[in-house]
Every structure is written in structure tokens, then in C-alpha cells.
Amino acid sequence: MSTALLQWLAFALFAAIAIAGALGMATTMSMFRSGVFLMASFVGVAGLFVLLLADLLAWLQVMMYVGGMLVMILFMVLFSHDPGGAMMSEMPGLRGPERFFSLGLRAPSHEGGGSDHGGHAMPQMDMSMTTPLRRFAVVLAALAFVALAALLLLRPAWRQLDAMPAADSAHRVGELLMGKYMAAFEGAGLLILLGIFGSVYLARPSAHPGSAARERLQAAAADAPVDVAEAGDPRELQR
């Protein structure tokens, strides 16, 4: 087989992985599956990076996203109400990709009974995964794709070079990062530091009202039941 055909085959494979993963992320009912689908999409994009001869970026992509962000995403998914999507997949109105990417999800009560959190535990809660804006979002996303594709296909010709990048592109990228783009590099470092401080400050447990503050809040709630009572639900404050 010729090199061109092989390149097209690899491109088709990685592009299919990237797009199918993204579609699965956006449409499946299970948030856990969403995280895994998103990582599949990132791995597909990493393959496209390799095909574009940006191998350093492909490694970076795999290590940053699959190594770092997947852990964060799966940790966050565990906070959601129905991470496995077993209840949601029982909904009757699933169509198209939502149905396809949610295949095989099933509530545990159907397999052997005796489960204490079946599908009808909290009927008063609005369980749906999507906002009422969903139809509008579908239309807007389709419009965005059509507009971008039209812009791409009807564009004036770009001047394209057929130069090959150097064999050790990592070396050149490192020199640029430490030379011409030093300010951006150091700025990103500062941003990471501030981001770590900010998120640790936000997430630390003592951000709760302490016991003294809690008593003050409860006293205030007793005094002014209209205003403060809704702000500080006593059930919440006992936690």
C-alpha cells in the first residue's frame, strides 16, 4: 500500500475515534461513560497530532488528559446523583445517538431485585440530564458546524508549504518556550500556582460555617424567619 493510502486510513480511524467519542460524551445517559468517551476522543485527537508530526503534543495530550484529567473527571462524576446512568437509561424517549450510546445500561433492580434505590425512589425530582434548552442547543450546534464547514469549503486558497518539520521538534519547541515565549511560559506557571491556591482555598473543609457561626446563623434564622431561613436550611447547617 502506498503511503498516501496509509495516511488516509490512519486519518479516518483517528478522526472517527475523536468524533464518535465526542458524540458519545455529549449524548450518553451515564456520566461515567461520558468521561471514558471523552478520553477516547482525546486519544483520537492525539493520533491526529501524531499524523501531523507533532509527536510531543501527542504525548502531552495523552499524559495530561488521560493521566490527569480523567482522574479529576471520574472523581467529580462520583458526586452526581446517578453516575452510572442506570435510572436515566430507563427513560422512554431516547432516540438516535442517545439510545445507541446508552445501550446496556440497566437498573440493578431489573437483574435480581432487592435494590433499595430503584428507578422510582425520588419521583418529585427532575432527573433529566439536559436543560430545556436542548433543542435550541442541537440547532445551534448544527448551525455552527454547517457555518464552519461552509467557511472551510468556500474559503480562498491558503498558501500551504510542503516543508517537513525538523526531526527533533521537541528540542525546537523547548528552545522557543525558554526563549521567545518565556513570558507566556512563566505566566502559565503563575496561572497554575494561583489556580492551585484558589481551588484549594475553595474546596477546603473549613470553608463551611464552623459550629459558632452555625449557632449564630440558627439564632438569626429564628429571629428573622423570612430572610435567613431560606438562606440557611437547618438540615444543611447541621452537617
Binding site: A22, L53, A54, M69, T131, L148, A184, I192, I196, A207
Partner: protein
């Protein structure tokens, strides 16, 4: 040298971007919205690398853009996680429409 034209890569990136727009607008859970934002950033990175390869392969600035985009994405995800933990402790939910008011 490269058989696949630039437009093909850009079309893939456009599809990823459109799916990301859908996820950001239509999902109710904060985690899913963050994932959609990651998808948008990733589509942008793919665009930058495709343009680098096909129009300026001798200048590596395109790769620097993508490195910075990945960095920003990681920081954004960490701060999103911190915010989500804080709001989950206060409201016991991760659905975004429970967080319409900053007060309380």
C-alpha cells in the same frame, strides 16, 4: 508529503467544536459542562496544530499555542472541581440550575 489536506483536519475540529457547543449548552450537570469546555479547547488545539503543520512547519509557535491551551484547560478543570465541591457542600447537588443565585 502529507496526503491528507488541511481542510480535512479543520472539518474534524469543526465537528468536535459543534459537539462541544451542544454539550455546554444542553447538559445540566456541572461535570458535563466542564467536559464540553474541554472538548471546545481540544478542537481549538487541533486547529492550531493543523495550521502549524500545513502553513508554517518551520516555525514552532503553533505547538506553543497548543501547549498553553492544554495548560489552561488543566487549570480550568482544577478550579471547576474546587467550585463544584464547594457548591455541592452547600446545596447537595451538582445540577447547574440549582445554582442560579450566588447568595446563600
Amino acid at each position: 508529503m502529507s496526503a491528507v489536506p488541511l481542510t480535512a483536519y479543520l472539518l474534524v475540529a469543526a465537528a468536535l467544536f459543534a459537539i462541544g457547543i451542544y454539550a455546554v449548552l444542553a447538559q445540566r450537570s456541572a461535570v458535563m459542562v466542564l467536559m464540553g469546555i474541554e472538548l471546545l479547547l481540544n478542537a481549538t488545539g487541533l486547529n492550531a496544530v493543523a495550521f502549524w503543520r500545513h502553513t508554517a512547519a518551520h516555525d514552532y509557535s503553533g505547538q506553543i499555542f497548543t501547549i498553553l491551551i492544554v495548560t489552561i484547560g488543566a487549570v480550568e478543570m482544577a478550579i471547576g472541581l474546587g467550585l463544584m465541591l464547594l457548591l455541592f457542600r452547600r446545596r447537595r447537588t451538582v445540577q447547574l440550575d440549582a445554582w442560579q443565585a450566588l447568595r446563600g
